[in-house]
Symmetry: C2
Subunit: 267 residues, 2 copies
């Protein structure tokens, strides 16, 4: 279900991504001391470390389906000396926690991979105590545009979207965060877009985002997309070249993440 794969280079990419985007995505997320927070789908811990550092007096229960990812998350947590995280291997659709047992829930880059994201949000809502919040962060590959524009680059991006769709996910889910959260019964839902705008005056983002996060992710699906006959190799390779072209001095790259916060209403 997880089309990004589990390779070491992929973990590195997710680490790069988290590093570059921490401020943009997470700087306004902090939980009060004593809160118990469920991080549903922590993967290799790319967000976990940031979360736990920003809320040192909250406790995080970070779960993921993949034992391999959790092992890596454990190593990341050990390296940083953080002590307020418990890692557990769990399926988001079969979480063994009591109803209303968490003060807050945090879900980042997870719904995009799920066949039934609305159902997952409903389950998470049930685990939240009345008055607690959920935070949902997702990207949206349809938000990627750039200069110079390139049909080949858009075709290469559509390979990732199509592979994610075939795996049951939705790479265009960012724009749907608001209706998904409202449908799941959350109240006071507020979504804010977090746009990554990259031009040559922001060299850190040129390298950290355009090149090593977004383009690396697209490059990563090359063989799978070609094997699945979604694209001709020449077109895909031209698309990747054109994505790299946007990192030159006159290039521009845009991408948007969506962050939603909602509440489970007090009854």
């Amino acid at each position: 279900m997880y089309v990004h794969g589990y390779h070491p280079r992929e973990s590195e990419r997710l680490g790069d991504q988290a590093g570059t985007l921490v401020e943009l995505l997470h700087s306004d997320t902090a939980y009060p001391g004593g809160s118990v927070v469920l991080e549903a789908g922590c993967g290799v811990g790319a967000q976990t470390v940031t979360l736990a550092r920003q809320s040192p007096d909250a406790h995080f229960v970070s779960v993921d389906l993949s034992a391999e990812s959790l092992e890596e998350a454990g190593r990341a947590i050990d390296r940083t000396g953080i002590t307020n995280v418990t890692l557990r291997q769990e399926d988001i659709f079969a979480l063994p926690f009591d109803r209303e047992s968490f003060d807050h829930v945090f879900v980042c880059f997870v719904l995009e991979h799920l066949t039934r994201p609305a159902e997952a949000l409903g389950i998470l809502r049930g685990l939240l105590r009345p008055g607690g919040t959920i935070t949902v962060i997702e990207g949206d590959h349809g938000s990627a545009y750039f200069h110079p524009d390139s049909p080949a680059a858009h075709a290469a991006i559509r390979c990732q979207v199509e592979l994610q769709r075939r795996a049951g996910g939705d790479a265009l889910i960012g724009r749907q965060v608001y209706p998904l959260m409202v449908d799941a019964g959350f109240d006071a839902v507020r979504v804010s877009p977090r746009m990554v705008y990259v031009d040559a005056s922001r060299p850190h983002l040129v390298d950290g985002f355009t090149r090593r996060t977004f383009t690396a992710m697209i490059e990563g699906v090359r063989d799978t997309a070609i094997a699945a006959e979604i694209v001709e190799p020449a077109l895909f390779d031209a698309g990747v070249r054109d994505l790299h072209r946007t990192t030159e001095a006159d290039g521009v790259f845009c991408y948007t993440f969506f962050k939603g916060v909602g509440t489970r209403r007090r009854v």
Copy 2:
């Protein structure tokens, strides 16, 4: 060259647009007392009134090619009692001003209509005193995406892009503001995207932006696009319906403007 047209309803739309977007686009633009500012391409004065109000002790010379637009701009200015604006009918490619005669230059929703935007920026740079700034604001129709997604809606939007292209302009120019300004020789160019994110929790934007600004603009090119055989009427009408569909309770609409500020370096 100006595909948006000059009808009264169009002026009303531009007025609506300016009202909804004033804070997002212009709140960080203010000029010191005594500055003389050239507004190149003021149109019907949609931005002029905001600019002049926000910098009451600066003086604005607002020029446009269209006598009809200037007349309307004059009425808008008279209605508001603003006295720090001089309107003049001029061609941006043949401005009769002395070199280095302006402290600042302001250009909003103009480059998109020009065949030679880089040349226009070069001319404007020559009119700027060393140390003065230029502010450039442009939209980008390739930044429009929405939920529910709709190929027909994208086809309708592409009609506007294609008509603008045939008229010599570029409706995808927002993402190019940075390279255009750098190419024209401006220094310390900084571009910031201004994303309009609309969901049902923001009813003012649903009506003021999605419905009455963006969708109204697309609807406005219907007959021209059909006459030019760019689109089948049924597809266009389905696209407009689908744009309206994004204004329902579960709909989301995204669009981004780009604002660049650059300096003419002191020699």
